[in-house]
Point group: D3
Chain length 161, copies 6
């Protein structure tokens, strides 16, 4: 029986921090669903389709990874897919507080669902999608922060934006 887990986020866009965590988790699960959380009330830089496509590029179309999108409650999406484990990355203490509250709420809503936290690689600790967008917007060097395909997409976005 294959072990499956779900890793959700807004991935606007996917960074080297996300990629590092995805690769680490593939050491323990046979299949990973990477799920783009779509929030119609919050403006994103990249569209749902662009974000999905950039995730696939950043992971070199790894066949063990299934890229999806969802709207609504993460826990209901996971239940529908019958995925029993949610994977989250932990960088800072402030991350942890929010993640802890979310994990408890998700356990309340779906008692059999387990949340598992992993530590990203040290040299990706300071990389977040919002910082990457900020650096890219002002023409800073992002080549060590994201996959080349994402870097190109960011340059295109801010050139035309």
């Amino acid at each position: 029986m294959p072990k499956v887990a779900l890793y959700a986020g807004s991935f606007d866009p996917i960074t080297n921090g996300h990629t590092d965590l995805i690769k680490r988790s593939l050491q323990f699960v046979d299949r990973l669903i990477v799920a783009v959380a779509v929030n119609v009330q919050k403006q994103s830089l990249f569209s749902k389709e662009e974000r999905e496509s950039l995730i696939r590029s950043a992971l070199d179309n790894d066949p063990r990874v299934d890229v999806r999108s969802f709207e609504g409650l993460l826990v209901e999406f996971a239940l529908k897919l019958e995925v029993p484990v949610l994977i989250r990355g932990l960088r800072a203490v402030s991350d942890y507080e929010y993640e802890y509250q979310m994990a408890l709420m998700n356990r309340h809503l779906a008692p059999t669902m387990e949340t598992v936290f992993m530590v990203p690689s040290l040299d990706t600790t300071y990389i977040s999608s919002s910082m990457v967008r900020e650096v890219a917007k002002f023409g800073g060097d992002i080549s060590n922060l994201v996959h080349p395909a994402v870097a190109k997409a960011l340059r295109d976005k801010f050139r035309t934006g």
Copy 2:
């Protein structure tokens, strides 16, 4: 001489976490003013009147509790009512940091005003108004998170919203 305290918040809507704290505080004070903070610049799900009404319902119209609304500085509202103690709930560390700064600013503005922190019941730790709104919006089960009257109001709001 009756001991009075004030418990303020946006209560959008009141949750089982708030109710738990209110009941705990009534073990030490004879009368509690529950004050809805109205912020005209921030959109709320429920109107001032709805929030006041839901608080009364969630507390079964407890005669020891006086539900009010205020705009502006909490500390000035408390001074006007001659309430010497502010009660706050502490869930997480990040709560504490902000609450600590607020308590110090309030002490600066009103040196005789004291802020007192209480620990909510463990099984309400992960309940916040914003999470409740999020769960309700997507049709998740909120029956263990809020009073039945609040659950009904949330369902009505999102059905018509």
Copy 3:
């Protein structure tokens, strides 16, 4: 009916931070029991009797304050005295974490017992008994950190010690 609360600690020795908190709490309670926690397995600078005596001096023998000592579980001591409220000071986040765990354990052991946290005066934030002992030991100026009677006791202790 008089409102009573309990404020416990090792008070080795009492500092201006403790005194500040005691005075603040006397705005809300009619009587305060200040309880010296005696731990026979941990060496203290001052004896139980010395610590009790210095607390009385630092509070100018305030008749609303009852100074006691106890060994064992704080919560059982509080139950025996029929005191329903424990008062704790909160300085830093690391304080809060431990205090939070203690408050939950105490609530588990005595469900009717409530723990209430207060914020000490800003200018006593950095004062702890251990830092005061350290400064006094090396002859630093402690006159603004403790009551004159405590300062004298510290000087005597380190002169003869």
Copy 4:
């Protein structure tokens, strides 16, 4: 291929918090090694053999769990057993800081070893071995904090101790 993980600690003694985490992790791994860390320089209440035996009792001799002891570096013990995953419980922020540093050091010493964090059940949040020992020592009620076999062992220890 069976998935194996390692959960280490001093387990002096095992509490309901540990048991909860072990049961949760068995939803994702086929076999779990529970490893008692032996530190000859630190005094423990229970001997290595007692701690191992109490773990087996608390888990009702679950055949999926292998109870072991080790001295020295956890990461070297895990490498010797060819276990690729370390499981840790996260309760508070202060836990997380230390655990984060340990996870990074372990990754430095064994780059292929991954540390995975899980959130214990809310109602075990405030249970630690040291608090359990403290409560038991002074005759407090520990029946909801540990397995009956552990409660009996604690009572025996403090009666004769």
Copy 5:
């Protein structure tokens, strides 16, 4: 060779907390550039020119301080001015987390740039520009929180606003 450092912020408006930090840093640097970060996407109470002018007033036109504005990445502005040190104030733990991530990102973008943190005076710990704006908006007393020139500007702003 004069030692130069840069202290950036939105200064909307400058508070006694900022002024305290600037004065402290002038004990170690010969010249300080105070840089107003302009963010066209975020609404500010005071214009760029007003903020610059209020900084000069609050510092009594200290000739060692050079007030500037910038848009875009702080680190690129600092590189252009050939300033090797960024000065930041640390108040709370939550400050520290964000500041730490920023310092690491800035080091990534400009490896020779160093970020140095200072502790503001205790009695300015609870002062932030946003709290000052909030207090001023509702007519609270801000005379001990900001320079008289800033207090006047705030009163003018909210009278006409």
Copy 6:
């Protein structure tokens, strides 16, 4: 006028984390005093003389660094040497809390003394003297954690110890 600062610690032994911070600080100060804090009541692995000697080796006898030892209060040692700035490294949040309290106490004892915090290199974040001693004690690889001279000293110590 040369700018001087003081960096104190127990350095038992000096790690790559300390060395990184010392090198960073030499970008801003002309001379750095590295001061070994001697605590006669706490057992150390290396003697005062060994610790001083290992610091000199780890810094390749950099002539800008003056290695000293002191007993008693850091702030009095700094005042005696007429050094106006204390440098501290910040790794984790828990570091920050203690460091913040110390900085405030030192400012109380010596109002003109300023404490300045720096962020160590990411790849030294998880290195502490106590972890290095632990790893070395059990024969783990410490070659990337400390200077070769320190690694040799640790091996010698644990071989004969």
